[in-house]
Every structure is written in C-alpha cells, then in structure tokens.
C-alpha cells in the first residue's frame, strides 16, 4: 500500500482526536505525585552535595603547594626513619 503524498484528515481523524482528547482530559496524575517527586529531588540534591563536600573537604581543599609539601614531608620522614632504624 502506497502512502498518500499529502496528509489529509477526514471525519474519522477529527472524531478520533476529539474522543482521545476527551478521554485524556478526564485523567490527571495522583495527588501524591508532586510530594513524592520533590522528596526524590531533595534526596538526590543532598546526596550530590554530600559527595561534593567529601571531595572538597579532602583533596580539593588543599592548595596544590600544601599537597606537594605534605607529600614531600611524608616521604622524607619515611626515608629518615628507615635510615635511623638501620643504624
């Protein structure tokens, strides 16, 4: 079956559209849906904030010079302690 080149609506289409719209107009979402949604969004926002807080409170909270200095201090102390223990 070939498709028509032009899409032309007839009485069937008009009645189908009106009937479907009438059907759709009668229905609405459950009353609790909005509360459920906003609770879910708040939980998601809190989880995301906690993740961000964790990272910002550890690695990202150091300035890069602080981080390098801490690493240097740690490595030096390990080497010195090892040397002292051998002596």
């Amino acid at each position: 079956m070939n498709l028509p080149k032009e899409w032309v609506e007839d009485v069937f289409d008009q009645n189908l559209r009106r009937s479907l719209k009438n059907w759709a107009a009668r229905i609405s979402p459950p009353h609790t849906a909005k509360t459920r949604l906003l609770d879910g969004a708040t939980r998601y926002a809190n989880r995301r904030r906690q993740r961000t807080d964790y990272f910002s409170s550890t690695f990202f909270s150091y300035r890069y010079t602080d981080f390098a200095f801490r690493q240097f201090a740690w490595a030096t102390s390990v080497v010195l302690q090892t040397g002292v223990s051998i002596l």
């Binding site: 498709l3 028509p4 899409w7 009485v11 069937f12 289409d13 009645n15 189908l16 559209r17 009106r18 009937s19 479907l20 719209k21 009438n22 059907w23 759709a24 107009a25 009668r26 229905i27 609405s28 979402p29 459950p30 849906a33 909005k34 459920r36 949604l37 906003l38 879910g40 969004a41 708040t42 998601y44 926002a45 995301r48």
Partner: protein, 192 residues
C-alpha cells in the same frame, strides 16, 4: 509568570522549587502521554516521576533557549516505549494464561456493558496498536504535534512518522469497524 527558560536556569543551579513549578505546568501532558502509551495508571505515575527526576538530574544538559516540551516528550515517549517493550516480554504470557484460566471476560454481560463506554473502547483500540505506531498516534492526536515535531522528538525521519501514523490509523479504522460499539465516522461526542 516565570518562563520555562528562567525555570530551567534555576533548575541548573539545583532549585527544587523550580522543579515543582515546571511539574505543575507540564504534569498533565506528561502523565496523559505515558498513560495513553502504556495503558497502566501505576506505570504512568512512575514514568511521570522518572521524567521529572531526569529533568532535575540532567538540567545542565538542557539548552534553556530551546522549548522544554519537546525534551519532555522525548523522555516520556522513550521511557514509555521501553516500559511497554519490557512489560510485553514478561507479563503478556502471564496475562494470556490468566485469561485462559478465567475464561474470556469479554463475553460476560458486565464487561460487555463496561466496554460500551467509549473511553474504554478507545483505550483498548490504542493499546491494540504496535508500540511504535501507538507512540506516534498519541503524540499526533492527543498532544497535537505535527509530523515534523514528532520526527524531531523521536529522532526518526518524517517519512517514518508518516508511515507509522498511516498504518496506525488504518488499524484503528479496522478496529472500530470490527468492534462496532463506537462509530468514529459518524458519532459526534459531547465534551466535558
């Protein structure tokens, strides 16, 4: 009244209030689309939640300068499509067995009377379509989207939309002719 654009911008900064306003504005459209495609009120309510939670989570990927509705249509159509595919695979066989065990309910006088309700027949007619045609029929007749808009929402060529709509309409015509309870060629409905 705040525009969708300004609400999306607020959403991008994590505003739950903006999500609530957008929900109030678009909930009916999203819910009705989901319900028309799935035919299941519980699933439609879940898909409504899922669509708006995605809007919240992925707000930073949305271009505020573009209309929001096509984005919502795309999400709810895709989620509904996936739900129908999954549901058909796992539940259809159980429903068939239940129908076989319980006898054909369509033959009982009570259900006959119930089925004469126009909206029930319409619902059944829509649900009888393959899901790809059903999505296009719902977006075209209920949501008043043009063929081009549907093509953009579903990310398929316009010819494909036209073809799905054509065959969907053919199937609906046949359904109503065979069913005989509703004649959409002649009946004019009263609207509330």
């Amino acid at each position: 009244m705040l525009t969708d654009k300004s609400l999306v911008l607020q959403l991008q900064h994590g505003s739950v209030h903006a999500l609530g306003v957008l929900y109030d504005r678009h909930q009916n459209m999203v819910y009705r689309t989901a319900l028309a495609i799935t035919g299941d009120a519980e699933a439609a309510a879940d898909l409504l939640q899922d669509t708006f939670l995605r809007l919240y989570r992925f707000a930073d990927k949305i271009d505020p300068d573009r209309p929001l509705e096509p984005w919502l249509y795309r999400i709810v159509a895709n989620l509904s499509y996936t739900w129908v595919k999954r549901h058909n695979r796992f539940v259809r066989s159980i429903e068939d067995v239940a129908s076989w065990l319980g006898g054909n309910k369509k033959d009982s006088p009570a259900s006959k009377a119930e089925e004469k309700e126009t909206w029930l027949v319409l619902r059944q007619a829509i649900l009888s379509l393959p899901v790809a045609q059903r999505v296009v029929v719902v977006l075209y007749y209920i949501n008043d989207l043009s063929l081009q808009e549907i093509a953009e929402v579903l990310n398929v060529p316009e010819g494909t939309v036209k073809s799905r709509l054509f065959y969907g309409r053919q199937a609906l015509r046949r359904y109503f002719e065979l069913d005989g309870t509703v004649d959409l060629r002649e009946v004019v409905y009263e609207f509330t």
